[in-house]
Symmetry: C2
Subunit: 398 residues, 2 copies
Amino acid sequence: MQLSKRAREIQASPIRKLMPHAVAAKKRGTKVYHLNIGQPDIPTPQAMIDVYHSFSDKVLAYGPSQGLDVYREGLVKYYQKYDIPLKEDQIIVTIAGSEAVTFAMYVTCEVDDEIIVPEPFYTNYNGFATMAGINIKPVLTVAEDGFQLPKDEVIEAAIGPKTRAIMICNPGNPTGTVYSKEDITRLCKIAKKHNLFVISDEVYREFTYDGAKHTSILQIEGMEDLAIMVDSVSKRYSACGARIGCIVSRNAELMAATLKFAQARLCPPTVDQLAANACVDLGDEFFGPLISEYKKRRDLVFAELQKIPGIVCVKPQGAFYIVAKLPIENAEDFVIWLLDNFQIDNETVMAAPAEGFYSTPGQGRNELRLAYILNEEDLTKAMHIFRQGFEEYKKTHK
Amino acid sequence: MQLSKRAREIQASPIRKLMPHAVAAKKRGTKVYHLNIGQPDIPTPQAMIDVYHSFSDKVLAYGPSQGLDVYREGLVKYYQKYDIPLKEDQIIVTIAGSEAVTFAMYVTCEVDDEIIVPEPFYTNYNGFATMAGINIKPVLTVAEDGFQLPKDEVIEAAIGPKTRAIMICNPGNPTGTVYSKEDITRLCKIAKKHNLFVISDEVYREFTYDGAKHTSILQIEGMEDLAIMVDSVSKRYSACGARIGCIVSRNAELMAATLKFAQARLCPPTVDQLAANACVDLGDEFFGPLISEYKKRRDLVFAELQKIPGIVCVKPQGAFYIVAKLPIENAEDFVIWLLDNFQIDNETVMAAPAEGFYSTPGQGRNELRLAYILNEEDLTKAMHIFRQGFEEYKKTHK
């Protein structure tokens, strides 16, 4: 029996597909610095771990499909700190940001409908689109201007009869780009003109540098019916394994429909929600040092990249990623070459080829994404290996 | 902006939609015995709770998309106890049984394809089918013979050009029916003849009574390429809030494709997997008393139901549900009437109308599902109220 077309065609994770080369390197005894994945090394807040330690229910029971009341109340407080006033029933807790994105797709798009997404974009949007049977229509953004949103006419040219939404990730994965309030407002104007939903993935909300200010889609006036925000605790609390996110909208009809999708899968994990709830009050005492640490890392990575002649890379102001365009033909070949052939003191480094973050064939072939999720010492070594490796690679490759 | 067609059409949970009547009853100070939901009251094993208490990682990190190695190894041991020999790579850990069912649908069906399911069936299959954009083709089973699988010719008559799989739940929710090895073998013969996958939801594996023996789809010879099993720890360990399940198949190509869907959503929750892993060795010392307890409850509920003149109900041999056909026109009206109008000593009872478990319009309108998930004392009171209520209702209703 043949598998479904979507099973045959769903994109293999471009981040994970080179893992066999890393595994082989490790088997040879080579240490691999992973700059290819978005798994932070920052300790999870103790308040969160404490919740696991003190869980005392006799029965680990289902929670409500929309999430535990206590956590939704906590989330209202959390968003209030960012000047996003919400009511509990405007929030549905999801199984990480992943499920929030799929719910947003299901609720806005019928099979074969389209969502416009600036590329490069978070590669798993492709997988969710395949599951939902919808199409992602990319609009190109470029390394030269730091992957800013395209001009109105470029976005509007992408809108067709099947377009139902525009989806952004802000601050951006993989680009690290923080969209200005002007750009978000401009995007919303286009959405309103064409009656499109805007789905805004804001899981890196706290990760902004150099005074860049994050603008939530929920802060734009007049977008009550069209704005959908997706969020997750994974990055901000270094709690990727908790699988707790949420979908937020002030469109009551949309939330009622989303709840029906949520009811089908019963509920998000119970203890993990309680754990996430222990973090909603964390403020500057937690995020201050965290952001300083990431800023330091970004500066380190960016400074090292700048030493590579011919590199194209504008300093990103958010998230913990940098996409750099390299003066070579194929960045994936370079990543594989580093893993297979290059080491310093028996150590090497792994980056993520950016091609997988584009949906236009051939785009991004000479670009890499680096995640700065290692401590300063390791990151320094990793970037040294990266630069030396690049010089060596250039001697024999175009 | 209009929501998607699937958002407008997805079935509201028939179990949850009568909740406002229960809430109103409680507001009036009436105690409601909930026989309408499948949330067991049995304590979660202490071994599982202990894992939450001793979680000591500094970073609550992503696990592998296919699930933690240690847990997949644990699951291999678990299935071995049931004479289901497996290898780790034939198992992908999922976010509860819900996700396992959706993965099974995605990997077998393209949009608009069909899955045949004996009705009445677990109502959330409808929601998953809506998400996946596929259709469920029901084949009717009836209270009169205890909801046994239909004859070959009935099943074969339902197979069309778009049919890709047959899905069963064994032991059954909502019916409690345990299919015999002969019937499972017969079903597999049909599947092989027509080259269809068989998706078997076996989350109630342990819950069999009167010596009934559960037959896994993975125990049928010659089904290596077609058999897909979905499973969950929710019911067997009374751990519905953990959201840990799995999808299992010996079809390597199918598992490779399923892994790509799994990679899109990154991973199941980490601590909950570790907690589930603490249960894989539980044997008769745990399940023996558990099954005795549920058997006692089933006998109690069944005996009480038998006292209702005109009821149609064969004693079910599995799960913790009974579907009964009542000598009235509309079981939902009766459930609402109980909540709104009837109490004994200020207590009432709630059941689930079975109509929502059928996809053929009008079927099951005079049927109810009772979940025997309360302790003996409460269950006795609840069934007394149920029977008295029914007598009272019959005086004024058809």
